[in-house]
Amino acid sequence: MPSNDNMPEMSLYQPVQVEDAISLAGTLAERGWLVGGGQDTYGWIKDRAKRPEALIDLNGIESMRGIRETADGIEIGALVTLTELANNALVKERYSLLSSAAGRVASPQIRNIGTLGGNVAQDVRCWYYRRGLNCYRAGGNLCYADTPEGQNREHALFGASRCVAVSPSDTAPALVALEAQMVIRNASGERVVAAEDFFIGPDVDIRHTTVLRTGDVLTAVRIPAKWANAEFYFEKVADRNVWDFALVSISAAMKVTNGTIEESRMVAGAVECTPRRLTSVEQAIQGRARNQETADAVASLASQGAKPLNYNHFKMPLMDNLVKRALTV
């Protein structure tokens, strides 16, 4: 059983311009690995479960830092740390959903170095996969978690397709709720992908959790003005209040006028391989008051269609309860 914890020898590139990073990413292709805060990267590489030949360290690229106001909202550099995001006045004022989510990621130490880009692009945390087992996601032909004896308390209720791992990101559901746009650059230019389309499930590509492919660099995240100053609700339930991944989280954005919900985006985290939009809930609450009566009427829609595994049934009432709270707090 390998118990490695040294960084193996590899090349290190430290570009200071995004164009250079893109060029390196394209040239090195599968042999290269982009690193920002490194909170996902170093575990993989020190464990030798992933073996890139070169690291492309993005931290010298100033243009990927900072939070800027734009004509239609804000743009957040992919290298903005989670601490910066959680504490940014503009984000707190207009998009407190995102600052709340960022402030619940992992621990203060990890938030100080972990970036928004890394948080959304991180790989799944299924413990079997992380231990280096040759599961579907790792290129093998079985899933250790989705069996009668699999230890799958943290795994998916929805969207299983050979793999039952869940999206571990706390900020991803918030970005989907805010209709964020992900700015991706590569040698061919720039493309902008809706957050909702950025995350992909195993049915689309079992080896990737996002649309990012070799040569791509996620440079920024744009939040449209549409949801600025809406009514928000974020809650993450984890075993521990610090340094833990969500068992279930809820990110809700609601436009409420005169007590009536005109429009909403409800997104659950850690129940599927991607942030899960609760569209049936969104539809059910449109035109209703944000109150207990509405909550009681619609909450059970959240978990509708869930296919629990042996040890994760609790996520169903937990999802429903979090939706209820989003509608009543």
């Binding site: 059983m1 390998p2 118990s3 490695n4 914890d5 040294n6 193996p8 020898e9 030798r48 621990s107 413990w127 079997y128 231990r131 087992l133 250790y144 069996t147 004896e149 699999g150 230890q151 308390r153 809650e235 339930v237 075993d239 521990r240 209040n241 610090v242 340094w243 833990d244 068992l247 040890y311 994760n312 049934h313 609790f314 996520k315 169903m316 009432p317 937990l318 309860n321 979090l322 209820k324 709270r325």
Partner: protein, 813 residues
């Protein structure tokens, strides 16, 4: 009694270094020419090594050698071998070590080694191996047999063997479903009183199953080591809880005379019971260094620390308890299946003794088996047996109280161990007990009567729960040596072989010597952490026993020094020794304090006099380690040295009681601990800040036991899920109360010269039990019958979706 030092805070000598980071731990030490060794560990839960091909690794530049089980004395099951060969019994078990010029090269070399394994059946749940026809963790069986045989020459066998116990399908099924397995065979049993007759007298009888899941120690400092050999001596930098006790055993492990081992261990980054004595991998560190004739650091990673760093045993059990009309416990019948992992004896009897002492049943029967599984070896972890039993027992006893119509506190009060309490199969007694007073004090601090009357239902789908729990561990031994030296610089050098686990008790116990000498602490120098500094034979630091045991040995060493000071003064200044007193770093005529000698002057006279005064002659009854140290110190000052032969009868107990209030969120299964109040009953308080730290730290870990930490193994392949700290989930600063209210009874034990007993273990047990009690109370007395209770279990219970399994499963969710 008014003391000069006892009961007062002080700054331990290593505190500043701990705060600034200057304190050095094993991996901080370097030596010219030092090489690094790393482990190759088993990918199989069970099997054997057929062949090893290290040729490719050995051909790599910078690789210096490979060390295998063949380089060590043969080890027979169930002894935990330093390196496995014929009996691989868990994933992560070390197979061999590779040494190289750098850590990275050693790690790279491990990848080049090819091993052919033979697989064997494996098992992760004790009840699976207990079943007739079920897989055995060892080829020869599934349980520990103590045959008391002598170890064969040249082996590390330890008078134990692997045997086999099996139950029928009906018996296992009954037990899994919470019923007594009629006619089943057990590995150990004890009883006292007429159990059947006492049950017949009981008005309330509760019968419940229970599970506690084991979990790793995860000591923050892994058990890395560094060793080098010079002029026939081994210099070993290690990480142990104990010092001189470990010294002798490590010498034996390295097959050298203790005089040829220099053991250096000033600071230890956690052990929690797993580093009380030398552990197997230390043999590899020392012997591989000798084989290569190079200083060698054996570096153990965080993941390897999970594998070889020991873990608490889990329990699967069944309990029947009866209450009489007056709320007293009449009878207890308990069955405990211990998960002993791939090695360890389990602690079921200790668990049963906890019930026996803390509830004083008139009659009791215990039956148990320690079963091996192909999971990491288990060993002592803070209150082994007692604490996990306290945690799972508290809600069951709450249920008994409720069904009997008693207030939960009143029921504890009625059964509390008093000074004449008896416990365990031998029905032994205690050195003293103020537990009834501790219960009253803690209840008053917590305002139990007021809180129990408050409504439970709160706004926002929250409910309140209040709970209480008690912890116990034997807390003191005797027979160890004290050693001090008064030097010609006037300073008092207080030598101790107690390890520095981070509790500061290694220094706290020495204040008993300063107290007897009536000298200022500023003139005392604590000498510890390096056997070249001439340390006495001191107790192991574990089992809550340091305070009681080592204040006694410090005291007797001081008494010896005082006698010598007085005799020297009388010889020099006239009169009888009894005419003199000691204080202020002087020995002086009691009737005319101007006449006397400074300690510096007395030390010089001791040197001039020689003999016993300066260590040329020493008591016959002191340990060989102490003798060696005195020999090395002779002629350097006035030596105070003695073995603790003070009277001791019964068990010196450490007791604690905690009260917890929680606000539980029924939507999420999470809870906030809104109040934590705990009182220690540990005799006189020697070091108030140290006690506070022990109670807070223990309480936090108790919260971890009750709500967070557990082993998770995949039954499909024997793979553990939580090898890292973040996966093991010890509670964080936002999972525990910001303020924890603690206090000590500060009532003296008559068998300690300063009245002190230890408190390490019970501080955790009471916290775990109180939180379990509060969780159950919040849910109207619902029993989960297991620890830990995690949010998913609470959510499932509230949802009434039927997904909380009632089976007695351990090592899984």
């Amino acid at each position: 009694m008014t003391y000069m030092h006892i009961g007062k805070n002080f700054t331990p000598p290593d505190l500043e270094a701990k705060v600034t980071g200057a304190a050095r731990y094993t991996e901080d030490f370097r030596r010219d020419g030092m090489v690094f060794a790393r482990l190759l560990t088993s990918p199989l839960p069970s099997g054997r090594v057929v062949s090893i091909d290290a040729s490719e690794a050995l051909a790599m530049e910078g690789v210096l050698g490979v060390f295998t089980a063949d380089d060590l004395p043969p080890s027979l099951p169930p002894a935990n071998p330093a390196l496995a060969k014929d009996f691989i019994t868990y994933i992560g078990q070390p197979i061999l070590a590779v040494a190289a010029e750098s850590d990275l090269i050693a790690e790279n070399a491990i990848e080049k080694i090819k091993i052919v394994f033979e697989r064997r059946p494996f098992v992760t749940d004790p009840l699976d191996t207990l079943l007739e026809g079920g897989p055995d963790p060892y080829p020869t069986g599934n349980t520990l047999i103590r045959n008391a045989g002598e170890a064969a020459a040249g082996t590390t066998a330890s008078g134990t063997d692997v045997g086999r116990i099996k139950w029928s399908l009906d018996q296992v099924t009954a037990f899994r479903n919470g019923r007594e397995p009629v006619g089943a065979t057990f590995g150990e049993e004890w009883a006292y009183g007429d159990v059947a007759a006492e049950f017949a007298q009981c008005k309330t009888i509760v019968e419940e199953p229970f599970v506690t899941i084991g979990y790793p120690h995860h000591s923050l400092e892994p058990r890395s080591g560094m060793a080098f050999w010079e002029n026939g001596k081994c210099y070993f930098h290690g990480s142990l809880q104990s010092h001189t006790v470990g010294h002798a055993q490590l010498s034996a492990m390295l097959e050298i005379d203790p005089a040829n081992l220099v053991f250096i261990n000033e600071n230890t980054g956690g052990g929690f019971g797993s580093k009380i004595f030398p552990y197997p991998i230390m043999a590899v560190t020392g012997k591989f260094a000798r084989k290569l004739n190079r200083p060698l650091q054996m570096r153990v990673t965080r993941e390897e620390e999970f594998y070889i760093g020991s873990a608490r045993s889990g329990m699967q059990g069944w309990l029947k308890v009866g209450l009489k009309d007056d709320g007293k416990v009449g009878a207890v019948d308990v069955i405990i299946i211990n998960d002993a992992g791939s090695g360890g004896g389990g602690s079921a009897s200790s668990s049963a003794e906890h019930i026996s002492l803390m509830y004083q049943p008139t009659a009791m029967r215990f039956r148990g088996i320690a079963l091996y599984t192909n999971t990491t070896p288990r060993g002592a972890q803070r209150g082994p047996g007692q604490n996990e039993m306290a945690s799972v027992l508290a809600p069951i006893m709450d249920k008994a109280a409720r069904e009997g119509g008693f207030d939960r506190l009143a029921m504890r009060r009625a059964n509390a161990p008093r000074p004449d309490a008896k416990f365990g199969p031998r029905q032994g007694g205690l050195s003293s007990s103020y537990m009834p007073e501790a219960i009253e004090k803690a209840a008053a601090m917590f305002r139990w009567d007021e809180r129990v009357a408050q409504p439970k239902v709160m706004a926002n789908n929250k409910v309140r729960g209040i709970g209480l729990g008690m912890g116990f561990h034997s807390a003191g031994a005797n027979g160890y040596d004290g050693l001090l030296r008064i030097a010609t610089d006037g300073k008092i050098y207080l030598h101790t072989g107690v390890g520095n686990l981070g509790t500061y008790s290694y220094a706290g116990v020495l204040r008993a010597a300063a107290e007897a000498l009536q000298c200022s602490w500023e003139n005392c120098v604590v000498v510890h952490g390096n056997s070249e500094l001439n340390l006495p034979h001191s107790t192991y630091q574990g089992g809550s026993n340091t305070m009681f045991t080592e204040t006694r040995s410090s005291h007797v060493a001081a008494l010896d020094a005082i006698r010598k000071l007085k005799e020297i003064a009388a010889a020099d200044l006239g009169g009888a020794a009894d005419d003199y007193s000691v204080g202020g770093e002087r020995v002086f005529l009691t009737s005319d304090q101007a006449k006397g000698l400074t300690f510096a002057e007395a030390a010089q006279k001791a040197i001039d006099l020689g003999g016993e005064y300066s260590g040329q002659v020493y008591p016959e009854d002191i340990n060989a380690t102490t003798k060696r140290s005195v020999e090395a110190m002779k002629g350097t000052g006035l030596i105070g040295v003695a073995k603790d032969t003070l009277p001791k009868q019964g068990t010196a107990p450490g007791f604690a009681i905690a009260f917890v209030e929680i606000e539980m969120d029924l939507d999420t299964g999470k809870y906030d601990i809104t109040d934590y109040t705990a009182v220690a009953e540990c005799g006189t308080v020697v070091h108030p800040q140290g006690l506070s730290q022990a109670m807070n730290g223990g309480g936090v870990w108790g919260i971890g036991m009750a709500g967070y930490e557990r082993h998770v193994y995949d039954p499909q392949n024997g793979l553990p899920a939580n090898v890292g700290l973040y996966q093991s989930k010890p509670p964080t600063y936002l999972d525990v109360p910001a303020q924890m209210l603690t206090a000590g009874m500060d009532m003296p034990d008559p068998q300690s010269p300063v009245g002190a007993r230890g408190i390490g273990e019970p501080a955790q047990g009471c916290g775990a039990a109180a939180l379990m009690s509060a969780i159950s109370d919040a849910l109207d007395g619902h029993l989960f019958n297991r620890t830990p209770v995690t949010p998913d279990m609470i959510v499932n219970h509230v949802a009434q979706n039927g997904f909380n399994t009632g089976e007695l499963k351990t090592n899984t969710f």
